[in-house]
Symmetry: C2
Subunit: 204 residues, 2 copies
């Protein structure tokens, strides 16, 4: 019996450090596949097409939406972001775990189609600390800083839709916590019941 | 706000090594309290009253049942076993985690009153290995060996009532898995929602 992989969805407010946490987590867990999102926003310095994102024209993106080729997609600020369906499903079906690092709107869409996915919300140690991190990143204008920071509390209020929370006050600790969450999910009876009973039945 | 502790219930067929796993797990996690069960069976060599079990007379035990002083109790083979309620509730209320190592009938009673408890089933690597372990323990007569081993598969079939399973093929690995299950449960949004929202609200 081919066991399905686990879909883990990681969210959190802008500036919380999701990207760094996910990168370290994937570095320690080479078997987990990162789903590469598609977006219509411009690449930032250092971002590589097909690795950081699939960078698409708006027209291409909208065509894929029409064809139902996204697990989730959303318009955030002025751009589209989305998760192409085909590769994620192929990996899960092959028993490989897949990580999605997406926004909260997207996570809620995933939840409606994939209730078995594991939803993790990354929290900042405090709102003050979050603001400092956004400012330090330096890629924001005064306007976009206000926009991003202003929505942080509203986003945190959506945490009740998530299974787990991880406070990112220390990257290593956050990664260890994600490791444990994955191990615990792999130990869930619900995900393994048929396999367990099948194994012991064969022996009788 | 005084946060409730987590009640973790550990079960598994006779001979699977629950006792050893729990002992190692508690040794690494001194903050988790072991609930001492009450029983009417005779002490085995080396067992200490009030530490291994509260050893009670049948009359005393039945009086406590009448008074509703057990979270769960059951008659297994010829003896009563039960978990006195008072101490468990006091510890949980003080924010301390409590471990119950009980049988499956008992676990199902706990589940009906404490659905927030975490239910873990310890599995043997195989039924053959389980039989070997029971024989090696050497405290069984031929008759009681048959009785214990005969019910193992039926007990494993009740695993669907449990949240997690841990295969005890290696004690250290089993203990690490329990550590992760506890850490994951502590990271559950459902157990912490009010605290999280309260903390961030205070900052606004």
């Amino acid at each position: 019996m081919n066991k399905e992989g686990i879909l883990i969805v990681i969210c959190g407010p802008s500036g919380v450090g999701k990207g760094t946490v996910c990168k370290e987590f994937l570095g320690k867990n080479r078997n987990i596949k990162l789903s590469v999102s598609a977006t219509t926003r411009s690449p930032r310095i250092g971002e590589v097409d097909g690795v950081s994102y699939h960078f698409l024209e708006t027209g291409q993106f909208e065509k894929m939406v029409e064809n139902g080729e996204f697990i989730e997609y959303a318009r955030v600020y002025e751009n589209y972001y989305g998760t192409p369906k085909a590769e994620v499903l192929k990996n899960l079906h092959n028993g490989e775990d897949v990580l999605l690092e997406i926004d909260i709107q997207g996570a809620m869409q995933v939840k409606s189609s994939y209730p078995d996915a594991v939803f993790v919300f990354i929290l900042p140690p405090s709102l003050g600390e979050l603001r400092d991190r956004i400012v330090k990143r330096g890629s924001e204008t005064e306007e976009s800083l206000k926009l991003r920071f202003g929505s942080a509390y509203d986003e945190i209020c959506k945490i009740e839709n998530f299974d787990y929370f991880v406070v990112n006050d220390d990257i290593e600790k956050a990664v260890r916590q994600l490791d444990c969450i994955m191990m615990a999910e792999k130990s869930r009876v619900l995900r393994n019941k048929e396999n367990i009973l099948e194994n012991f039945k064969e022996e009788i």
